[in-house]
């Protein structure tokens, strides 16, 4: 039981790094988009 639990915990590692890779794309895209919003002139 404990071994299965430990294996499941190990399985979280690839999920975490996949999530991190996707989040990085979100960060880059939204950063560029929001910086434009921040510095652009008022309508």
């Amino acid at each position: 039981m404990a071994t299965v639990g430990m294996m499941l915990l190990r399985a979280l590692v690839p999920l975490f790094f996949i999530g991190m890779a996707g989040s990085l794309v979100v960060i880059v895209v939204t950063f560029v988009e929001d910086m434009k919003e921040l510095i652009e002139e008022e309508d």
């Binding site: 915990l9 975490f16 999530g19 991190m20 890779a21 996707g22 939204t30």
Partner: protein, 775 residues
Amino acid sequence: MASNPPSSPLQSNRVRLVVASSVMLTFISFWRAAAIVLNDLGSSAFYAGGIAEEAVGKAAPWFILGVMLFSFAVRAVYVESCSMFTRGGVYRIVKEALGGTFAKLSVSALMFDYILTGPISGVSAGQYIVGLLNDLAHLCVTRYHWPIWLAPQLNVNYASAAFALLITIYFWWQNIKGIEESSDKALKVMQITTVMVVLLLGWGIFSAFHVGAHLPPLPVPANLHFSQDALGFLRHTSFAKTLGLFGVLMAFGHSVLAMSGEESLAQVNREIEHPKLKNLKRAAIVIAIYSFIFTGIGSLLAVMLIPDAVRVPVYRDNLIAGLAMYMVGPMALRLVFRSFVVIVGFLILGGAVNTAIVGSTGVLMRVAEDGVLADWFRHPQQKYGTSHRIVNLVVAMQLFTIVVSRGNVIMLGEAYAFGVIWSFTFNALAMTVMRWKYHGERGWKVPLNVRIGKTEIPLGLISVFLVLFTTAVVNLFTKSIATVSGILFAIAFFIIFSLSERDNKRRHADTTRQLKEHFQLEHQDKVGRDALEIRPGSVVVTMRDSVNPFALKWALTRTNTDEQDLVVLAARMMGAGGPEYVSASEQLFSEHEQTLFTKAVSVAESFGKHISLLVVPAGDIFAALVQTANSLDAAAVVSGLSTKITAQEQAFYLGQAWEALPEPKRQFTFYVVMPDGSNQSFHIGPHAPHIQPDDVELVHRLWLNLRLDPEMHDLHHSDILTYALTRMSREFNIDKQDVVKNLRESLEEMHKRRGLGKHYDEVEDAAIRTKTIKH
């Protein structure tokens, strides 16, 4: 007054009770919104670095930086949720996506986060103050040979806990009295914090180059050294010996508290001015960049500059103070800067204690308004009208937490992360589900969406959810204190919410039935004369206390309701983070409100007069009053004397709210009624001044003299006033201070000249004017 009302309000025996859905709010710029959120989010910079390093070792700053970078993605999730619902916080989103049970669970996790924000901020502020006092005492003993009894060393944890208790009790009392939340204060705190951050980073980077400091070890498994506590339930397992990349995930989980406070973005969203989404995104990016620089780079510099021998043993709980002490430069200058750090820390962490009380009260008010918390909690405090029972509950839990922790920041920090990570996880999960479930307006989407056929896969949202979910699960195993205390807390709150909801369903059904029996209940989007069927020039009376409605009695005595309509206004204060719009199905009336309406009607009946009842949800009472008066085209507003501020201050704040109203707007008279029946009246908005006989005489004499000039035969009295005012206005534009000084001297002279026995019809006006100028 018009003699024919649109339709007679006396047609029905039941009194018309109109309930508005749009909440009356005042709006703030994105800078102010960012300042409010940063008061919460930025405060974690003072303790997150020390807590993370204690858990994972010297590589901790990289994880703090990683968490702050990841907070950019979490902000994107909050922006999407706020673009769907103005109050896009955890409770609302999770309820929409996953239903009431998950909403109650997520709000329990959020409450755990908010409740712990107070103790950890208060204790941390105490650690900075006591740390400085102890170092100064040590300096006095060693360098200036003071006797030890004169400069004793305090027990840091106990003294910090005592400080946290004091500051929590102080803010408890402020919240019981109902302090006015001001974005001004938040902005000022962030301005002074920014000065400190610029000095800290500038001086810190210079010092790092000067001493040739090395970056912390890279965040790879070989460089992670977990404390026994940081291994949690894995401590005695073989798993702990071969962590590998799993250790990176664990270390990230131990650093996640650095981004606590993101939820405040959803809380403040409803008050952001137009264009809301654009300004929300601007506020969010400012917040993310600021906290990345302050918390992330600040933690990095601390490890680079403070020697290993003292960093964790001495400065773990006041890391930024330690950083100030290890800059290059004279000791006196470093001590001065450290004192500045302590003052800023006190301001921002003290503010966070208040934010924690206001935030958790706001969340509980929100669930109470939704019928998920017993009505008993919504009962207003008799004297101050605040939600005192909710405030008491929140503060009692915070005081208990401080006492149990005995000032141990590490223990508080470990528990704190539970609420932070789980409320984010629920939010991200709910937002992912909403991509399929919600088909309403969505102003913006988290990017990285891939379309396969007709189905859109939100890869960006799923990615953020995966990081949060895996971190939350790992934290369950590695943060034993957080897991045990967090689960117990969440279960306790979940049970309270579930039982309250069941009881409330029955009670609210009874209340609504009774209301419908006695009142002609109507829900309207916005307040207007048509909805209430009243004529222009009505009298609006505020009512909060059903025990002694002296303002209503005063107004009824002086109003002939056959000629002038009288509207009794009950404002439902929505609390911090409340919604912008409350639909009819969400307007649940408490027993207190029912008692209030019944009392108003019985008082009116005792006078033999008719009244209309109006309920408006409000974020700010003064904004609600002027907005209602304006939309009803009211001639007068009557209020009882506030228990917190003077009649003049009431009028001043009302005048400020009136000035903020868009055109067209109508002037009205504001009456403040004292409990003894006397009153003070104030004209709100521009109005013809009452001119003293002496001044009329002066104008007349000037007119006579000027008329002697042959070119001035067409001169009128009003031309003299126009000229004098235009000239004063021009002078005011050139030298404001000089005009104010001269005016003040003139006022003093006038008061002396008039002496006793003269009437000062405009004395209140003068008070308001002077205050406006000072302001």
